[in-house]
């Protein structure tokens, strides 16, 4: 197979073919000339197609098929039933609540993430590596535990519970608790996107800005923020996707009060447990659509970001 490759390539690569002809006169050097035709990182076609095949099959079974099933099941009973399912008052309430939680959690994490990344990237202080590890905690801990932590803190039997109920503040089994749990779970997304980028950029641009007389706020607004804007958007997008899809932590603190503390993922589960499959899949399909939308936006951002990176790093 290799030989074929060489023979076919010969007429195209003119100078090389001349070199090959001259080398043919010297049999001792011939094997070396052949090795130049074979890129060292290129696999044989068999290995290449095997790897691609495995990857595609895996994708099909574990990603594409489930996604297709969601939409097929959702529309099984017909478009009318589908529309009925998603305009059901409880479903609408779940959609509203999901959006409300995202609208609070995402901006909160935008601010927290930016502050954390800023302090890590621009300052030297003790315990910095511990802080970086801590930021990853929500990723490594099970969301159920995240939810339980809030129940233990703010619940009726929790340490702050009696004081809170004494003042008529309800956090657990209510929207505030769900927002808190969501913020906890989605905290790392923005921070993790920003930290490596801001560390790499250093404080040089900011120093330049203040040496030119810019105030701290103007430096942030005109220099720091534009420098991280794509990474920030990207982090916000991922944070949003997770905030809307979070199940475990929210489930623990929600109390599952239909129409009141049900988010979309929780509502899907309730419907499913009630054997209303098509309704469950109908709501699930909206979540899936949101996920696809996020993916699309993410690809778009990455594409823009790549342009931006090329333009700023190219020389």
């Amino acid at each position: 197979m290799e030989r074929e490759g060489i023979v076919r390539a010969l007429p195209i690569a003119d100078p090389a073919s001349a070199a090959d002809r001259s080398l043919a006169a010297d049999p001792a050097r011939k094997p070396r000339s052949r090795s130049t035709w074979h890129a060292p990182t290129t696999e044989r076609p068999f290995a290449k197609w095997l790897l691609i095949g495995v990857a595609l099959a895996f994708l099909a079974v574990f990603l594409v098929m489930p996604l297709v099933v969601v939409f097929v099941e959702a529309l099984r009973a017909g478009l009318g039933d589908y529309l009925d399912a998603i305009t059901d008052p409880d479903a609408l309430a779940a959609i509203r609540l999901t959006l409300l939680i995202s609208v609070i959690a995402v901006p909160a994490n935008l601010v927290f993430g930016l502050a954390a990344a800023w302090s890590i990237a621009k300052f030297e202080f003790k315990g910095k590596s511990f802080l970086i590890t801590l930021i990853d905690l929500p990723f490594s801990v099970s969301p159920v535990i995240a939810g339980l932590v809030f129940v233990l803190l703010f619940g009726a039997q929790g340490s702050l519970g009696p004081w809170l109920s004494g003042h008529g503040i309800k956090i657990i089994f209510a929207v505030p608790g769900m927002v808190l749990a969501t913020i906890f779970v989605t905290f790392p997304f923005v921070a993790r996107e920003l930290i490596p980028l801001m560390q790499e950029q250093g404080a040089g641009d900011e120093e330049a800005a203040i040496s030119l007389g810019a105030s701290g706020f103007k430096t942030f607004w005109l220099v720091t923020l534009p420098n991280v804007r794509w990474a920030l958007l990207y982090g916000v997008l991922l944070c949003n996707a997770r905030a809307m899809g979070e199940f475990g932590a929210v489930s623990v603190v929600s109390g599952h009060i239909r129409g009141v503390t049900d988010t979309m993922p929780l509502h899907v589960e309730i419907l499913y447990n009630e054997y209303s499959y098509s309704a469950a899949f109908a709501v699930a399909s909206i979540l899936a659509l949101l996920a696809l939308l996020t993916l699309g936006l993410k690809s778009l951002l990455e594409w823009r970001n790549a342009e931006h990176l090329r333009s700023t790093r190219g020389h």
Partner: protein, 346 residues
């Protein structure tokens, strides 16, 4: 604007980066801070700019104590080593940045900002590049944009951190001459940091040689080269060789042989003899000469450099000979210094 630095000390985590530095910079002067890495030269520059604050000591701008003024209030033009141009802004926006961020009231109109940025672009000889972005410029062009941006705020002092460090040799040479001319035309008090002695000697009115957080010597390039104040300065500026000698009542001995050198001011005891390759002549007269065995011959642009191994300790000295000189490949030769410098051994 004169700058006066008085007993300045700067510690980072208890490690001193500057150790009691005092320096007077005259108005309109072009002065170089020269030293190896870790000598504290960049720290001194950043302290003058207000990008760092001193642990002790003070900095005066004219008669005014500026030690605790913020960088924004010092009105210095700072050119960063890697330029730190704002990537997302055009060249004109970069240059106009310092004017645009002024508080309302002191801020010129947008048209005025654009006009001044354009004028500065002409000054740094980049007309017509105003709408480009930094990534579309070459290294030398970026350097000039950074300079124009620093000049836009009409600073009284211009500070440059390794201004040519990131450029290739040819561009560096051109820019050096250009910057010197620009300085002569605009008359800013200019301080620049460099580790390149050639650059410092060629461009500046005075050179500050620094080592380990201290100033070793301040002087004109001639003074630095001809009367180096310390062994460090001698060794750091230009090529040099060193021999361990002994001083006894004003006479200088290499091992047991007396050299044809005098050291009337030096205390008796061990001393260090410094020689420059160009200040040595080959001689046939053994009296008071330094004898050495040839250890190697190197060809340089305008000279042939012979390395001689001297004495039992095998210390090596370099002798620069005319490039036409041949037949020095081996054997023992004698040299006599035309100029030398002796320092007591520490």
């Amino acid at each position: 604007m004169e700058i006066s630095v008085r007993s300045l000390r700067k510690e980072f985590d208890r490690t001193p980066a500057l150790n009691g530095v005092s320096l007077d910079i005259q108005s309109g002067e072009l002065i170089a801070l020269l030293g190896p890495s870790g000598s504290g030269k960049t720290t001194l520059l950043r302290l003058i700019a207000g990008l760092e604050f001193p642990t002790a000591g003070s900095i005066f701008f004219g008669d005014e104590d500026a030690s605790h003024k913020s960088v924004q209030d010092r009105h210095v033009g700072f050119v960063f080593q890697h330029y730190a141009l704002f990537k997302h802004m055009s060249v004109l926006d970069n240059i106009g940045f310092g004017l645009k961020v002024r508080p309302r009231g002191q801020r010129p109109s947008d048209a005025e900002v654009r006009k001044r940025a354009g004028d500065l672009l002409d000054l740094v000889q980049l007309p017509g590049l105003g709408n480009r972005f930094p990534h579309q410029l070459s290294g030398g062009q970026r350097q000039r944009v950074a300079l124009a941006r620093a000049l836009a705020i009409q600073p009284q002092v211009l500070l440059l951190d390794e201004p040519f460090g990131a450029l290739d040799a040819k561009v560096r040479k051109e820019l050096r001459r250009w910057l010197r001319e620009l300085h002569d035309r605009t008359g800013h008090t200019t301080v620049f940091v460099t580790h390149d002695q050639e650059e410092a000697m060629e461009m500046s009115d005075r050179v500050v040689v620094m080592s380990q957080g201290r100033i070793e010597q301040v002087g004109t390039p001639d003074e630095i080269y001809d009367q180096p104040a310390s062994p460090f300065v001698y060794a750091f500026i230009g090529d040099s060789s060193e021999l361990s000698v002994r001083v006894d009542r004003g006479a200088v001995y290499l091992e047991d042989a007396a050299l044809a050198l005098v050291a009337p001011d030096l205390p008796d005891g061990p001393a260090r003899l410094f020689l420059r390759p160009h200040d040595l002549t080959i001689t046939d007269d053994p009296a008071g000469a330094i004898a050495g065995r040839v250890a190697g011959v190197r060809r340089q642009a305008g000279a042939r450099v012979v390395e001689l191994e001297v004495g039992a300790k095998g210390e090596r000295i370099e002798v620069a000979l005319p490039e036409t000189e041949r037949g020095m490949e081996n054997g023992t030769h004698m040299v006599r210094p035309r100029k030398w410098q002796l320092y007591p051994a520490a």
